[in-house]
Symmetry: C2
Subunit: 391 residues, 2 copies
């Protein structure tokens, strides 16, 4: 079938609007003239598209800059600060709700540490719903929520959390248990916590790629999640279940894991496992672990964690050929004490290390990177299809 001319025009407008918004998100602030050059459109077309996006609040006009030499002052365009998205997270150690705007800035957030291992899914999600409702009620007037996402530490299938070993949850219809309490019929899109947290490393704001494009992200929580990022995109696998680095076997004769297997990486380098091995209380902050790294039991636990990380990550790098490993969560806070042992093992166990030894980086940021990633994902959907958000 040939689309009608009107339909074609409308499709063309949609994709041009998306191109302009993406261009400003990726490289803003830009003037209308910059937008015309970078999108390869005429000045008149660019200006018309920009005006539509400004009218719909997806772009903001900043203060006019007086040009350094002569010429007309240009109005800088920025992603809209009055369009936001809600990112939620349940982890075995925390509940979080965070609102990001299109510039990637945190507008509001509420993060509660708690031990949620073995918690009741309905009760925990109701708590998250209630604290989210409070957070949303306090948002600045005029901020429009364009979507919501929910990061969960396990296998997800559409709306269903199939299994989160560390929460002890199985077959939980999470959005159903949340949506009733969320304002305005917002229904969160569910994603894997580490996949979403990895987006916060790949992109520094909605539609704005960061410098790392190929890396393995490791989310250090009570368990360990992971995500491989190739060309800036999270490798999701055939059913969306990729990245479960925490359950790579490090020693078949190792300790039992909550997943039913034995010797999984998270039994050595997960937060609880590491603290238990070090003889420290399970709520010891990472900074204290680092401070006490000279004590023998702590040193031994850290060495065992570094060894396990080295064996598991060398395997992942051998299979995926990624040049960078990014440590997140508690592993980022422990990076300085883990790195020497980890890098030594990667150098020895990665087949290509003689030509390119993997680099180990740490990203320290606010807790609950999964919530940030969930909001980013919802905002990416706006950037990809802005026409749906215009009047």
């Amino acid at each position: 079938m040939t689309p009608t001319s009107a339909a074609r025009q409308s499709t063309l407008r949609s994709s041009n609007l998306a191109l302009v918004l993406r261009t400003v998100c990726a490289g803003g602030p830009l003037s209308r003239a910059d937008v015309a050059v970078r999108t390869g459109t005429t000045r008149a077309t660019a200006a018309r598209l920009v005006d539509d996006l400004v009218a719909g609040r997806l772009l903001d006009e900043g203060e006019r800059l007086t040009p350094p030499r002569r010429g007309r002052p240009a109005t800088p365009l920025l992603p809209g600060a009055r369009v936001g998205a809600l990112g939620l997270q349940v982890d075995a150690g925390l509940l979080a709700a965070r609102v990001l705007d299109l510039r990637g800035r945190v507008v509001a957030e509420h993060v509660e540490d708690d031990d949620l291992v073995g918690s009741d899914p309905a009760r925990t999600l109701a708590r998250l719903g209630a604290l989210t409702a409070d957070l949303v009620a306090g948002l600045p007037a005029g901020l429009r929520l364009a979507g919501a996402g929910l990061a969960l530490p396990g296998l997800v299938d559409g709306d269903l959390l199939l299994r989160a070993p560390n929460l002890g949850w199985t077959d939980v219809p999470a959005p159903d248990l949340l949506a009733a309490q969320l304002p305005g019929g917002l229904r969160p899109v569910v994603g894997n916590e580490a996949d979403l947290a990895a987006r916060t490393v790949a992109d520094t704001a909605p539609g704005r790629p960061g410098p790392l494009r190929d890396f393995l992200y490791l989310s250090g929580q009570i368990g360990i999640g992971g995500a491989a990022v190739l060309g800036g995109r999270v490798l999701t696998g055939s059913a969306g279940w990729a990245g479960e680095v925490g359950h790579v076997c490090v020693d078949p004769d190792g300790p039992a894991c909550r997943c039913g297997s034995t010797g999984c990486l998270e039994q050595y380098a997960g937060r609880h496992a590491l603290l238990a091995a070090a003889g420290l209380p399970l709520d010891t902050p990472p900074a204290e672990v680092v401070a006490r790294a000279g004590e023998l039991p702590v040193r031994r636990a850290l060495d065992a964690a570094a060894d396990a990380l080295g064996v598991a990550l060398a395997g992942v790098v051998n299979v995926l050929d990624l040049p960078v490993v990014v440590l997140g969560g508690h592993l980022a806070a422990l990076a300085d004490v883990l790195r020497p042992g980890l890098e030594e093992l990667l150098g020895r166990r990665v087949l290509s290390a003689r030509w390119r030894r993997p680099t180990v980086l740490a990203v320290t940021g606010p807790p609950a990177a999964g919530a940030t990633g969930a909001a980013l994902q919802a905002l990416d959907a706006v950037v990809a299809d802005p026409v749906a958000w215009l009047p």
Copy 2:
């Protein structure tokens, strides 16, 4: 810059020729009318493009079929049988040269088993060059070689084989050592053996996708190579070094590997390691291993191989989320005795196994699948850009 109208016409013709050839390769035999329908072009345009491809021998016309009812008889179109490519392979256990035509059929081949562990690269490649020259000299008159590929069991960087642990080769400029002896200035494109072998599973002939699109391919040789295939494409990684499943660590305290690490999968399930553990001569054929699987030392070696495969592959599936594992090489021949233990471990160690337990398949075919894949890759280049091969 705007391309000239003539340049645009020429680009359009190239991409239309590619579309027609790809359509026949993927779904032939087809009539000119079928081609018009499937490519969405007019009958006249389709017929003209087909005629050009027939003139250049990239398509052949088969015998006219009398239609079952009335109507004009249609001429079936097939990929050209007089266009071929050369696939070469050096493995620690064999040398191979094979010529495939555009229909994916073997036109000629020469495979020599030999123990090439620690062999001299220049001498071995000269041998391969000489046997290839003989093979090419005996090809049917009128067969045109459109390209060549060389499969090597290690890390490749452009033209250079960086490292092949089982051959004991490092930094070998393989095409330079071969090209002098190859006819007509053919210079082979170098690729990793398992990556190329995996193509023979993903595609059944040049441009003809097979039924499996997402799988992990395991190449059982003296060592073990691997390739993850996602959506029909081999995952190459950021530098082309992905898929080294043979060097995933199964037990950090395990035996030393040629790669410098310890406890690598291939030290349990590689052909030599398995035969040595079973107390059998290193040239024992897999069928004999299967026949003697009831003998205790053989049984133990097979169990250890299945356990090692289970631990390593569960890790890969946890990270990549692939629904199928395809065993190739000697592992395919041993599949029936390895599968029970392997599947049991995958069921226990793969986090998502309750929802989808990975399927283990075996592909038994002629030896040296890497050579076939190298020829396929060269022919895929013809299918992708046929205009370069037309008069």
